[in-house]
Amino acid sequence: MQVTVQAEPFDLGALSNAFAAQVGGAGAVVTFTGLVRDNGGTLAAMEIEHYPGMTEKAISGMVEQAMLRWSLIDALVVHRHGLLAGGEAIMMVATAARHRAEAFAAAEFLMDYLKSRAPFWKKELSTDGAEWVAARDEDEAALNRW
């Protein structure tokens, strides 16, 4: 498993290819990529703050849980922090399993947990000023299905 928290952009294609190339025995690889929504052109940038130390620990915990629960062959999470422009990739998840149902479920589980349990905070900088993105009740509720 690989967990990376970084400010720099990442190469989705290169990471996906490298991941798929080393998952012997897998029949399915699912990748998900989260992008910065530009809110119809009003977003100037998104600033992502995180809690160094806890972030890596929290994500590793989620990935370990997913690996066990869905018997994954491997999993990868990359999440950025710092200043991002609209359209840029914020994060990616990749899961590899023998069959696709496990790979999809584990990727969804990781996405739900990353949203509400990984210590990141997003701030939208727009033409009207800056505003912290509020957590949504639906995101918290989504954890109940696991």
Binding site: G34, Y51, K115, S116, A118, W121
Partner: protein
């Protein structure tokens, strides 16, 4: 001495990202009460506990948790990762 960290709008309201505090507070709640009584900026940051989360030594915790043995306390709003 205990390290106290603040993130996002909690950090902005308090004005510093972290500080070392000398406290005898037994629980997170006691620490919050102590800080709120200290200065207006803390009262502002800790005004609505429903919109706050706390981590003890980098593990999500609860407001009634004891502080004995804890080295690092962090306060922040609900997380918005992904």
């Amino acid at each position: 001495m205990i390290d106290v960290l603040y993130f996002a709008w909690v950090r902005e309201r308090i004005g510093v990202p972290r500080e070392k505090l000398d406290t005898q507070a037994a629980t997170v709640m006691d620490l919050i009460a102590e800080l709120k009584a200290r200065e207006e900026r803390y009262a502002w940051a800790f005004g609505d506990l429903a919109s706050l989360r706390v981590a003890l030594d980098q593990e999500l915790s609860s407001f009634d948790a004891p502080l004995a043995g804890v080295r690092e306390v962090a306060f922040f709003p609900p997380m918005t990762g992904g």
